[in-house]
C-alpha cells in the first residue's frame, strides 16, 4: 500500500553487490539504486521523489497478496505474489560473480511461475543523476538502452516481451504459467561500453551469487539465541561494505526523514569513525577476519590524510571532503530538503578519537599486527587528545546547536587515553608520552565525575552542568569507562530507562539540538541499553529487551535508523548500519554474559 506514491520505509528490502545497493518495495518496485557505487547519483530515485525519481516496477496486474524472504543465508530476495488464479515468485539479485564477461553492474529479476497463471506488468524508468540529467532511450542490437552522459543502462528481457518504450521509460508484460519463467536483467555501464549477456549467463550468475552469499554466511561463527537476526544483520552490513576499499557506509540511502515532512534528512552514504569500534567488533565477533583487516587498514589510510585530527566521516573512497548540497527532488513524502554530502564532516567530535583507539585496541587484542608507522600515528593521536579534550564539541549526535562539553565525548577521550596506555604497555605503540596520557586520563575522569554527574538524578548527564540525559552515555558502559556495576552506572541506566525509554524504544536525548521538529526512537540506543544491562549483570532483563527489539525488524529482518514508538513505522535511512551493528554487539555481549 502506497501513500502519495510512497511505500512505507518498513516495506523495503535491500539487495546489492558490495558496490551498489537497490531498495525493493513489497509491491515489487525498485525505488532506489545508485550507480555505479552506493554513493554515486541515483538512477532509480522514486524513494525520494515518486513522480520524477525513476523506478523499476514489476508486479501482477491483478489483485494480489505478497509474502517475501531472503533466500536463506543470502542477499537474494524472493517475493511471492499470490493472485486468485495462481502464484509467481520474483527472485531479485545484484550479481557478484559467475561465468562470462559480466556488466559493470547487473541487477537481475527472474519471475518463476509457481501455480496457475499470473499476468504481470513491468516498467523501467531510469532517471540518471538524481533525475537531474536528461535520459535518452535508444536501441543497441535490438536491446533498449537508456543513456545520460557517460552512464548507460540496458534492459534485456527474456519471455517478458517489451510493449514498447515511451518517453524515457521501457515497459512490458509477462504472462507466467506454473513451471515457466521469465527474466529481466539490467546491465549497467559507467564510463565504459555496455556488456549484453546471454540468458544462460545471467541465470548462472544469479545462482553463483546465491552460492557465494551462502558460503560467506556458512563461515559466520555466531550460534547464540538470536542467530537469525545476527546473520541477517551481518548480511545487511556486508551490503554496506564498499568492497573495493573495505569502507562501511552508515546506510544505503540519503535523506529518508527522521520525521515525516521534517528537515532532519541526511546523507548516510559515508563511513563514520563513530561506528568504527562497533564495526570492527562485529567483524571480529562473527569471524570475518578478512573484512576486519580490510576495514582497519582502510580506516587508517583514510585518516592519514587528516592526521592527527580526525574527520567525523570519510567518503567510501577515503576522501575527507563531503560538501553538502540540496537536490531538487521533492523528498520522501514531501520531507525536504533532500541532501547529498554531509556538513557534519567538518564538525569537531571528540568521541571519534576514543572510537579510533578502541578500534585499534580491539584489532590488536584479536592478534592482528599493528605496524610501526600506524603505532606511531596512534600515539600522536593520543597526544592530540591530551590537547583537545578540554574543548567543547558537537558530540556524537552531531548537534547543530552551540558546542558543549558533552559527557560522552569526555568519556571517549578517557577511553582513547586508556587504550593508548594499554597498547603502549604491551609495546604495540611508542610509550614516550604514556605518563602524560595517564595524567590527562585522570584529569578527564575528575572532570566527568565532578561536572557531568547529577547527584539529584543519580546519573551522568548529557553535558557538563546540565540536567538532561543522553542515551549515548550507555557507550561509557560498553567501552568500559568505570565498572559497569558501579552505583553511578546503575543509577544512570535507571535514569535513562525512566526518562528516555518507552517500552523497547529509547530516545537519543532530552533537550535541544539546534534543529526544528522531533524524531522517533533511535534503535541503536535500545540495543545499547540491552547490552548495558547485560554488562551490568542483568542478563534476563537484557535478553527480554533483546527479544522485543528483534521483533521490531521488518519482514525481512532489516532496521532503519529510527522507529516511531506510536505506530512502529520506520524513520531515517535504511538499512542503517549502526542499528545492525548495535544488534550484533548486544547479542554477542548478552550471550557472553549468560555464559559467564
Amino acid at each position: 500500500m502506497r501513500t502519495g506514491g510512497y511505500a512505507d520505509i518498513r516495506d523495503y528490502a535491500v539487495i546489492g553487490d558490495g558496490r551498489a545497493a537497490a531498495l525493493v518495495a513489497r509491491d515489487g518496485a525498485i525505488d532506489w539504486l545508485c550507480m555505479p557505487d552506493l554513493d554515486s547519483p541515483s538512477v532509480f530515485g522514486a524513494l525520494l521523489d515518486a513522480e520524477r525519481g525513476g523506478s523499476f516496477q514489476l508486479c501482477p496486474s491483478v489483485p494480489h497478496s505478497v509474502e517475501r524472504r531472503y533466500r536463506p543465508g543470502t542477499n537474494v530476495l524472493e517475493t511471492t505474489f499470490h493472485t486468485q488464479d495462481g502464484a509467481v515468485r520474483v527472485v531479485d539479485a545484484m550479481t557478484t560473480t559467475g561465468p562470462g564477461l559480466a556488466p559493470l553492474r547487473e541487477l537481475a529479476r527472474r519471475v518463476e511461475g509457481l501455480s496457475g497463471e499470473v499476468p504481470l506488468t513491468w516498467r523501467v524508468e531510469p532517471r540518471f543523476g538524481y533525475a537531474e540529467r536528461k535520459t535518452r532511450i535508444e536501441r543497441r542490437l535490438g536491446v533498449p538502452v537508456a543513456t545520460a552522459a557517460a552512464a548507460a543502462l540496458a534492459v534485456q528481457c527474456w519471455n517478458a516481451p517489451e510493449s514498447g518504450h515511451e518517453e524515457a521509460a521501457i515497459a512490458g508484460r509477462i504472462d507466467v504459467r506454473a513451471g515457466e519463467s521469465a527474466l529481466i536483467a539490467l546491465a549497467m555501464a559507467d564510463r565504459e561500453p555496455l556488456v549484453l549477456s546471454s540468458r544462460e549467463e545471467v541465470e548462472a550468475r544469479i545462482e553463483a551469487t546465491a552460492r557465494a552469499w551462502a558460503q560467506w554466511s556458512a563461515g559466520r561463527e555466531y550460534a547464540g539465541a538470536w542467530q537469525g537476526a545476527v546473520l541477517r544483520s551481518a548480511l545487511a552490513l556486508k551490503l554496506l561494505v564498499h568492497a573495493p576499499s573495505g569502507a562501511v557506509a552508515a546506510a544505503a540511502t540519503t535523506s529518508l526523514p527522521e520525521e515525516i515532512g521534517g528537515e532532519r534528512n541526511w546523507d548516510y552514504r559515508f563511513c563514520w569513525v563513530r561506528d568504527s569500534a562497533f564495526t570492527l567488533g562485529a567483524f571480529l565477533g562473527l569471524g570475518c577476519g578478512a573484512d576486519a583487516r580490510a576495514y582497519f587498514w582502510w580506516l587508517m589510510q583514510a585518516s592519514q590524510l587528516t592526521h592527527p585530527r580526525l574527520r567525523v566521516l570519510y567518503g567510501l573512497d577515503g576522501g575527507a571532503h563531503a560538501p553538502e548540497r540540496l537536490l531538487t527532488l521533492g523528498g520522501y513524502r514531501g520531507s525536504s530538503p533532500v541532501r547529498v554530502g554531509n556538513a557534519a564532516a567538518s564538525q569537531v567530535q571528540l568521541d571519534t578519537y576514543g572510537e579510533l583507539l578502541q578500534t585499534a585496541w580491539l584489532y590488536a587484542a584479536a592478534g592482528h599486527r599493528i605496524d610501526a608507522d600506524v603505532g606511531q600515528r596512534l600515539a600522536e593521536i593520543a597526544d592530540l587528545v591530551c590537547r583537545l579534550w578540554r574543548l567543547p564539541d558537537a558530540g556524537i549526535w552531531e548537534v547543530r546547536s552551540v558546542p558543549r562539553h558533552f559527557t560522552q565525548s569526555k568519556m571517549m577521550c578517557w577511553v582513547a587515553l586508556d587504550r593508548a596506555r594499554d597498547l603502549a604497555e604491551r609495546g604495540l605503540i611508542p610509550d614516550r608520552h604514556a605518563q602524560r596520557w595517564r595524567q590527562e586520563a585522570t584529569l578527564i575522569e575528575e572532570f566527568v565525575e565532578t561536572q557531568c554527574f547529577s547527584p539529584e538524578k543519580r546519573s551522568y548527564v548529557r553535558h557538563a552542568g546540565s540536567g538532561e540525559l543522553d542515551a549515548s552515555l550507555l557507550l561509557g558502559v560498553l567501552m568500559s569507562y568505570g565498572a559497569p556495576t558501579s552505583d553511578r552506572w546503575s543509577g544512570t541506566v535507571e535514569a535513562l530507562r525512566r526518562e528516555l525509554r518507552d517500552g523497547p524504544f529509547v530516545r537519543r536525548y532530552s533537550g535541544e539540538d539546534g534543529l526544528g521538529g522531533s524524531e522517533g526512537a533511535f534503535l541503536a540506543c535500545s540495543f545499547w541499553l540491552a547490552e548495558a544491562l547485560a554488562r551490568s549483570g542483568r542478563v534476563e532483563d537484557a535478553a527480554a529487551l533483546m527479544d522485543e527489539l528483534v521483533g521490531l525488524a521488518n519482514d525481512v529482518g532489516l532496521y532503519a535508523e529510527e522507529i516511531d514508538p506510536a505506530t512502529g513505522a520506520f524513520l531515517g535511512n535504511l538499512p542503517q548500519g549502526l542499528s545492525h551493528l548495535a544488534l550484533i554487539s548486544a547479542a554477542l555481549a548478552i550471550d557472553g554474559a549468560a555464559d559467564r
Binding site: G100, L101, A102, E138, R140, L141, G142, V145, T147, A149, A150, A151, A152, A154, Q156, A189, D190, R191, E192, P193, L194, V195, L196, S197, S198, E201
Partner: protein, 160 residues
C-alpha cells in the same frame, strides 16, 4: 626523419591519447574505453582485459606511428602541422571504418548488425564515430587523435 623519432612520438602520442580519453571518461563526456575494448577480444576477465588492453593499445600506438613514418617518407615531408592533419584523418578513420565496421567483425565479444539476440555476452557496438558511447565521443576521440598525430609528426620531424 627516423624510425626512432616515430617510435618516440608514438609512445608520447599514445600516452597523451590515452590520458585524453580517460579525462573524457572522468568528465562524463564519453564511455569509450579502448583498452577495455581491445582486451576483451582476448579474455572475459575484466581486470586482465584492461591490463592486456593497455599493452595492446600502446603497441598499436607504435605501429600507427610507423605507418605515419612511412607516409611522411613517401611524401618527403613531416612536422607538427602535418602530423595534426594525419591525426585528424586517423581519428576519422578510427571512428568510422576501424572501430565502427572492422572491429566488430573481428572482435569475438562485440555485437554487429548481423547479430541476433545475444547467445554470448556481447559488448555494446560503438556505432558510427562511436556515438553509441556518448554524443561527445567523436569530439573527444578526434581531439585525442589530433594530439597523437601532432606529437608523432613533430617527433619524426625533430629526429630528421
Amino acid at each position: 626523419m627516423s624510425v626512432w623519432g616515430a617510435l618516440a612520438g608514438g609512445f608520447a602520442g599514445t600516452l597523451v591519447l590515452t590520458t585524453a580519453l580517460r579525462a573524457g571518461n572522468e568528465l562524463n563526456l564519453t564511455r569509450i574505453d579502448l583498452p577495455f575494448l581491445l582486451g576483451t577480444a582476448f579474455t572475459s576477465d575484466r581486470t586482465r582485459a584492461k591490463a592486456l588492453g593497455y599493452v595492446l593499445h600502446f603497441l598499436m600506438g607504435l605501429v600507427f606511428a610507423l605507418v605515419y613514418y612511412a607516409v611522411f617518407v613517401a611524401i618527403g615531408h613531416s612536422g607538427w602541422g602535418l602530423g595534426a592533419i594525419a591525426g585528424l584523418v586517423h581519428g576519422l578513420f578510427s571512428g568510422s571504418a576501424l572501430v565502427d565496421t572492422l572491429l566488430p567483425l573481428v572482435h569475438p565479444r562485440m555485437g554487429t548488425s548481423a547479430t541476433a539476440a545475444p547467445s554470448v555476452a556481447l559488448l555494446e557496438p560503438p556505432g558510427f564515430m562511436m556515438l553509441n558511447y556518448g554524443v561527445q565521443t567523436p569530439l573527444v576521440s578526434l581531439a585525442a587523435h589530433v594530439a597523437y598525430g601532432t606529437l608523432v609528426g613533430g617527433f619524426i620531424g625533430l629526429a630528421g
